[in-house]
Amino acid sequence: MNTIDSVTTGLERAGYIADRQLATVIFLALKMGRPLFLEGEAGVGKTEVAKVLAAMLDRPLIRLQCYEGLDLNSAAYEWNAAKQMMAIRLAEARGDATSVERNIYSRDYLTARPLLQALELAQAGTPPVLLIDELDRADEPFEAFLLEVLSDFQLTIPELGTVAASANARPVVVVTSNRTREIHDALKRRCLYHWVDYPDIEREWKIVTTRAPEIPEALSREVVAFVQRLRRMDLFKAPGIAETLDWSRALTALDAMTLDPATVDATLGALLKYQEDIQKVRAGNN
């Protein structure tokens, strides 16, 4: 991956049609070893970037789905207390207390969660693609904790020491956010920022034919034109690319050859997820 063009073609081969801007940012993230911070509306293909990167680079993908209350135990590591207690009981039975003291806080009793897994894989020489998905869903304390991981690619475990990925084998980190709240500047500073926008009509058509090749060409052009028109309407939630693909597949499943009002009406639910939006489009459609 030595040029921006090679990134573009690599992504395309893996099934992702990226615009030049996104390709440039991905290229830089790979070269500079920086996390990639992708923000954008739901369904524009942010998560997909990480999946495709893993396929393109032939690396394992480790995914950390964020939610409110996500804590260290489920994001980084957890001491396996049950196993530790078992070891203590066994050692007591053997009358061998010193081995317990030495071993009870060793790697054997640690359960690795996504962040630690990623760093350990990197240490072992196979740096993975680490996807931290929908970071805006996690709460702020978790963001603060991520700072160490994202800037130094290391994780400090008080009882064990520091696990660090070496500079030349760092995981490729992709952070996504739907922007339901602002992520703190300190975290964004450590990343390369890119706003993933809705694609233009040409690129969207290319995406549809790549990801849903079974759709007839004439229909695919109509579909894309229709969706592009919807995005210009005053809707509460404009359809993303994911919705375009869903809709294309729905129409193909119905053996539709062209778009007619009845079919559109019946399948609108694949495209729009708010009742008010559906009503508005129906009113305009008739």
Binding site: Q21, V25, L28, D71, N178, R179, R189, Y193, F236
Partner: protein, 404 residues
């Protein structure tokens, strides 16, 4: 290379002057990024710089414009500065002398106390029967000059006395404690080893509690202006009440919606209010509640209501145009928040009925309907928020309201 470095530094400086926050480390990154992306394609250079120098989609318009002008021709730099500087200077120029000056003036010349103003605060505010709301936007500045020392002191007293005690809600995050239902084995083990391993204290996990955020939507149209102005002081106090208090997002609306959260975070109340005054262009004008709520719902609700925020809607509901927009947007707002509280100064009138179309459209969607016209009603608001009876008071308030 040094020439390029110089240009990047200048470019970053221009962006910084236009309000983007760019540290020196970012400049270094930008240079590095450019050596990687190459300088052959203008678009690549732009994408590379944008990736490093912007931190939000909101930065993009400024960045795009600056990039367009700056990188057209490096020699144009002085021109660019000339083009960008007036903006910067005008922003600086708008920094009004803090209102402390007016207080100072009043302190120095007490007898010159300008116009006689009905004292605000403890005394009931005379309701302006003229109901000066109109659909036209009157783009005029708020008239803060009428705020005298006396009035200001009343407001200060009000603010000093009031806190907004909010009931804490349980989060899904846990802390070690004594009252939890789950045992924290790892912590128990650690604790026992610390004491030699003989005694096993049982450490439990209990949910951490947190104050939910508060989102305030306040009406600044002609008929509401006085109340909202008084409330600004209150909002400033609760916005800066410290880390354990709830995060407050504040929006003002008349004919358009303006977010003033940032302005209110200014430590000095007078500077904060001056900044708000600068930002809000529709003080005392008409009111279009429906479209304003709509722009809140579309642009902000998903960003500020995500964490179980309570919404305070401060308006008299006197809106002319309805056409279903208002009811639809109220319904949407209600669905996005666990607790929607409507503060209406008209509610203190004995004979107040839900006659205006706006009030009728909004009422079905509010959880609490409370008066807001004096200190007592604000204290009542604090009591309601502290009671933790989220959305359960429908009946009582309605009855209360119906009995009037």
């Amino acid at each position: 290379m040094t020439h390029l470095a110089n240009n990047i530094v200048h470019f970053a400086r221009i962006l910084r002057a236009s309000g983007l926050s760019i540290g020196p480390d970012r400049v270094q990154d930008a240079l590095y990024a450019l050596t990687l992306s190459g300088l052959d394609h203008r678009d690549d250079v732009k994408a590379a710089l944008a990736a490093v120098l912007t931190k939000s989609i909101a930065d993009r318009p400024i960045f795009d414009e600056a990039f367009r002008i700056f990188w057209r021709d490096p020699d144009l730099e002085s021109k660019v500065r000339a083009m960008l500087l007036p903006q910067v200077e005008s922003r600086a120029g708008q920094q009004k002398a803090p209102m402390a000056n007016r207080r100072l003036a009043a302190a120095f010349f007490p007898h010159a106390a300008a116009k006689p103003v009905a004292p605000m605060g403890t005394q009931e505010i005379q309701f302006d029967a003229a109901l000066t709301f109109s659909p036209e936007e009157r783009l005029r500045r708020a008239d803060f000059d009428t705020m005298t020392t006396e009035e200001w002191a009343e407001a200060r007293k009000l603010v000093a006395r009031l806190r907004l005690p909010m009931a804490e809600i349980a989060t899904r995050r846990f802390v070690s404690g004594t009252r939890g239902t789950h045992l924290d084995f790892a912590a128990s083990l650690r604790q026992s080893l610390r004491n030699g391993g003989d005694v096993w204290p049982l450490i439990r996990r209990q949910p951490r509690t947190r104050v939910p955020p508060l989102v305030v939507l306040a009406d600044v149209s002609g008929s509401m202006e006085r109340y909202t102005r008084m409330l600004l002081y209150f909002l400033h106090a609760i916005s800066n009440a410290g880390s354990r208090a709830s995060r407050v997002e504040t929006f003002l609306f008349g004919t358009r919606l303006t977010r003033i959260t940032r302005e209110l975070h200014h430590r000095d109340i007078d500077q904060a209010v001056a900044k708000v005054e600068d930002r809000v262009s529709d003080w005392g004008g008409g009111t279009r509640i429906g479209p304003c709520l709509k722009s809140f719902n579309y642009e902000w609700s998903r960003r500020v209501l995500a964490q179980r925020a309570t919404v305070l809607l401060i308006t008299d509901g006197l809106d002319r145009d309805d056409g279903g927009v208002l009811a639809a947007e109220m319904a949407r707002l209600k669905r996005a928040t666990p607790q929607l509280i409507w503060l209406n100064p008209l509610l203190r009138y004995e004979g107040f009925e839900a006659k205006p179309a706006g009030v009728r459209a909004m009422l079905p969607y509010v959880d609490r309907f409370l008066p807001v016209h004096n200190i007592a009603s604000l204290t009542e608001l604090g009591r309601v928020l502290a009671s933790n009876q989220r959305g359960t008071q429908h009946g009582t308030d309605r009855q209360l309201y119906a009995s009037r």
